[in-house]
């Protein structure tokens, strides 16, 4: 199937200074505390938060870290901007490639900081990703493994 493209934009205002908000992204330890997807486990293998730096992590359901994530930081401006490319692979297969931008500005109205996250998604095999997320691929693999000999018999 052809790749899917989508841009996701989310905005939040936090009662924190831009510096604290930025620090929550800059430290892998802090990120680990809040950024693991729901019901999933996240393990950082390599941390390198700087322009040109590459980070590697794995995520998936607990005990089955089937997705390999690679984050390549394109630009980082302290307390203001983080711009990176995140690829997600399952084995050798590239599932998605996402260009992410986090913009942080002071929010004078609330005295806090405003965050705008823009996620430009290119999903190459969304069926497989959707299937994997729901735990379906395991079922289908089992199914096809069972069907293959059945088809051979037919």
């Amino acid at each position: 199937m052809s790749p899917l493209h989508e841009t996701i934009v989310l905005e939040r205002t936090y009662p924190a200074t831009p510096a604290r908000l930025f620090a929550a992204w800059a430290s892998a330890e802090a990120r680990l505390a809040w950024s693991a997807p729901d019901g999933a486990q996240l393990v950082f293998d390599e941390e390198d938060f700087r322009p040109g730096g590459v980070e590697r992590s794995r995520c998936g359901p607990a005990g089955n870290l089937m997705f390999a994530l690679e984050s390549r930081y394109i630009d980082i401006r302290k307390d203001r901007l983080i711009h990176w490319l995140e690829t997600c692979r399952h084995g050798e297969t590239l599932l998605s490639s996402c260009l992410l931008t986090v913009e942080i500005t002071a929010d004078p109205a609330s005295g806090g900081a405003r965050l705008v996250l823009t996620d430009q998604v290119t999903a190459f095999d969304a069926e497989m990703i959707a299937g994997n997320r729901a735990g379906w691929s395991a079922v289908l693999e089992k199914l096809s493994a069972w069907l293959a000999p059945a088809a051979a018999r037919a």
Binding site: R12, Y14, R20, K142, L143, W146
Partner: protein, 113 residues
């Protein structure tokens, strides 16, 4: 009767039975009526209907009734909803940004302890 809540458990439970696997095998070659499904199996129609319910609960098969004939097919198109993934990614970011807010509140050096 087991009560499986997890969709994966339900699907595996559905595939755990050889008779049901034969039904899935048959449906992988195209839709079939309940009696067509029952024919090659040494099973009563009511047993086939029971198995069908398990397969439907497992999200592997769906059926629709036209007149007196119930036609079954593999529920594969349901897996082909790419929007599901994109929606899930959006939701995932929303939840993570919510948790970021909670994290910032918990680590606020000026917050009263």
């Amino acid at each position: 009767m087991l009560h499986h809540q997890n969709p994966l458990d339900l699907a595996f439970h559905a595939l755990a039975d050889p008779g049901r696997r034969l039904m899935v095998d048959r449906l992988s070659r195209g839709p079939a009526s309940v009696s067509e499904l029952a024919e090659p199996l040494d099973m009563s129609l009511s047993a086939v209907v029971q198995h069908l319910k398990v397969l439907e609960a497992g999200g592997l098969v769906r059926s629709r009734k036209q007149g007196r004939v119930r036609t079954c097919e593999l529920d594969v198109p349901a897996l082909r909803q790419a929007e599901t993934w994109l929606n899930e990614r959006r939701l995932s970011w929303e939840r993570r940004l919510d948790r970021l807010g909670a994290f910032l509140a918990e680590t606020d050096p000026e917050a009263p302890r």
